[in-house]
């Protein structure tokens, strides 16, 4: 790796001020599982890393029945999935966390970093001066695009790589963003951006802004949730596609519910129309069949990835059947 300075801020204000001076190309550094890969591949060549790990207050997991979960951005993925409340009440999140990367990476990577990780597109990671790196062409359009997006793409066709983000969307999660100027809270669905809005970043964070906490509202007793990830390797891999759902059920009726999809779009994907249709839906396989057929109706697959459409629809159907079975 090329040389960089290692800055140890004592608080968020100092970290934000260091990161805000973008002429130095100072990058936020937490678990490092994504950033060190980017540096090794020379996608990023920072002059300095700002180590967030010594900043107090970003490491805890708190739960109250009124507020739900408050998760410090530096909580490790393995720490979060092992938490009692996550295992008891937030199955979709637990499953997504356990499906993320390998045991070692889950001991290293943080939940904040997971939400802010860069795409895995091989042109972006490789030696291609692509759109996202300031070039003037997306190589995926005419290239190898089996793993690229089927919806929400253009002019760049990445997919967002996070598993927990897909789960958290169905839980109506939010994030606190802090900077030297203060803090703000943003719904997770408004945190991610499409290439048509900003080709150079995957979220709304501006230089100097730092995700400090993730908030997950409480869920009722009647809530069931789950996550299915389709990957090509049995051991560990990024999602080819994934489906998350959180449903509130009363008897044979879904009172309301949310579904979200990974591996299909440049951001973790939700469809308002599908969530509306889940509301009041009676639990019948036929209903799940017709609902799933409506998913990704606006998709425009690339040459090699139309297979993702039936895959996502069938996985949603399977997940709904599983969640409503008992």
């Amino acid at each position: 790796m090329r040389y960089f300075d290692y800055i140890q801020p004592e608080n968020i204000k100092q970290a934000s001020e260091s990161a805000g001076r973008d002429w130095r190309k100072a990058l936020l550094y937490a678990g490092g599982t994504d950033l060190l890969g980017l540096i090794k591949n020379e996608v990023e060549s920072p002059a300095a890393l700002i180590n967030l790990k010594a900043i107090p207050g970003l490491n805890g997991i708190e739960y109250s029945e009124r507020e739900g979960l408050t998760i410090g951005a530096l909580v490790k993925l393995s720490q979060l999935s092992a938490h009692e409340v996550v295992r008891e009440k937030y199955s979709v999140l637990e499953q997504a966390l356990k499906e993320t990367a390998s045991p070692q990476l889950r001991n290293m990577g943080t939940i904040g970093g997971n939400l802010c990780q860069r795409p895995r597109c091989w042109y972006f990671r490789g030696d291609f001066h692509c759109l996202r790196k300031g070039g003037d062409i997306c190589y995926a359009v005419d290239g190898e695009n089996k793993y690229h997006c089927v919806i929400g793409g253009g002019p760049c066709f990445i997919v967002h790589p996070s598993d927990p983000a897909v789960a958290l969307l169905t839980l109506d999660a939010g994030v606190t963003i802090a900077s030297a100027k203060g803090t703000k809270r943003v719904a997770l669905k408004d945190f991610f951006v499409l290439p048509e809005d900003d080709i150079y970043r995957e979220n709304i964070l501006q230089p100097g802004e730092i995700v400090t906490h993730i908030h997950v509202p409480p869920v009722s007793e009647k809530t069931v949730s789950g996550y299915i990830k389709f990957r090509e390797r049995g051991a560990w891999d990024f999602a080819v596609v994934s489906v998350a759902a959180t449903l509130r059920i009363n008897g044979d009726t879904i009172i309301d519910g949310k579904a979200a999809f990974g591996g299909v779009a440049p951001k973790p994907w939700q469809e308002e129309k599908i969530n509306q249709k889940l509301k009041g839906l009676s639990v019948k396989p036929g209903n799940f069949e017709s609902l799933s057929a409506e998913v990704l109706k606006e998709a425009e697959p690339l040459n090699q990835n139309a297979f993702k459409l039936p895959l996502v629809r069938n996985l949603l159907k399977r997940l709904l059947v599983q969640l409503t079975a008992s």
Binding site: M1, R2, Y3, F4, D5, Y6, G32, T33, L36, G37, K40, L49, N51, K53, S78, A101, S102, P103, Q104, L105, N107, M108, A235, W236
Partner: protein, 203 residues
């Protein structure tokens, strides 16, 4: 290559280092072992001014070091501490050969900075030995033949150690999951899993 007599006190590693260079350049064996390639020497000199102090605790011993921020934990363990049991293969946090324990949890040492280990306790494969006595996991790998070429083995054993620390009596599924972050390109997986289960039985 010229024949050279190799002193019996020379370690296997020093010998291999010299042998590798000798094939390429036929320079005296013992000299090349400590020489750095020019590019590395220049980089080192340029970086000397940019070092940061680091107290690194490895296998119960604390080392006072001074390292460049861009050096990984694996590099410092191998090059500065000469604990070469930890292997670097992909150098990308994907294959698991560099697995060490950081405060008892398995991590890829090639993919964290050495400075991140400040104040934490690192255990490498060398730390499992009790003097000359093999660790029960090492014995199990020998007994069950959980090795082919052996290069991934230190990482496999450290991943297994982390697993058994958390779950001393794992089911086969737990072992498959716990060992999923380690590749073996010989494909010795069935024997590796058997070895871990054997160690769990005898430990």
């Amino acid at each position: 290559m010229k024949k050279k007599s190799v002193s019996s006190s020379l370690s296997r590693r020093q010998f291999l280092k010299g042998f590798g260079s000798g094939v390429a350049g036929s320079v005296a064996l013992n000299k090349i072992a400590s020489a750095l390639p020019l590019q590395k020497t220049l980089e080192k000199a340029a970086n000397d001014a940019n070092r940061t102090p680091l107290n690194l605790s490895v296998n119960g011993k604390t080392y006072r070091l001074s390292v460049e921020p861009n050096r990984t934990l694996a590099e410092v363990i191998r090059e500065d501490l000469q604990l070469t049991g930890t292997k670097v293969v992909c150098n990308h946090g994907e294959c698991g050969a560099c697995t060490v324990l950081l405060d008892g949890e398995a991590v890829y040492s090639c993919h964290i900075l050495a400075l991140d280990a400040e104040g934490k306790s690192v255990t490498t494969i060398e730390g499992l030995l009790g003097g000359e006595e093999l660790h029960p996991l090492q014995k199990a790998f020998v007994k069950k033949d959980g090795i082919q070429c052996g290069f991934c083995t230190p990482g496999q054993i450290m991943a297994a150690q982390a697993l058994l620390l958390k779950n001393p009596r794992p089911a086969k599924e737990d072992v498959l999951e716990g060992m999923s972050g380690n590749l073996c390109r010989c494909g010795a997986y069935p024997k590796i899993i058997e070895s871990v289960l054997e160690a769990a039985k005898t430990d």
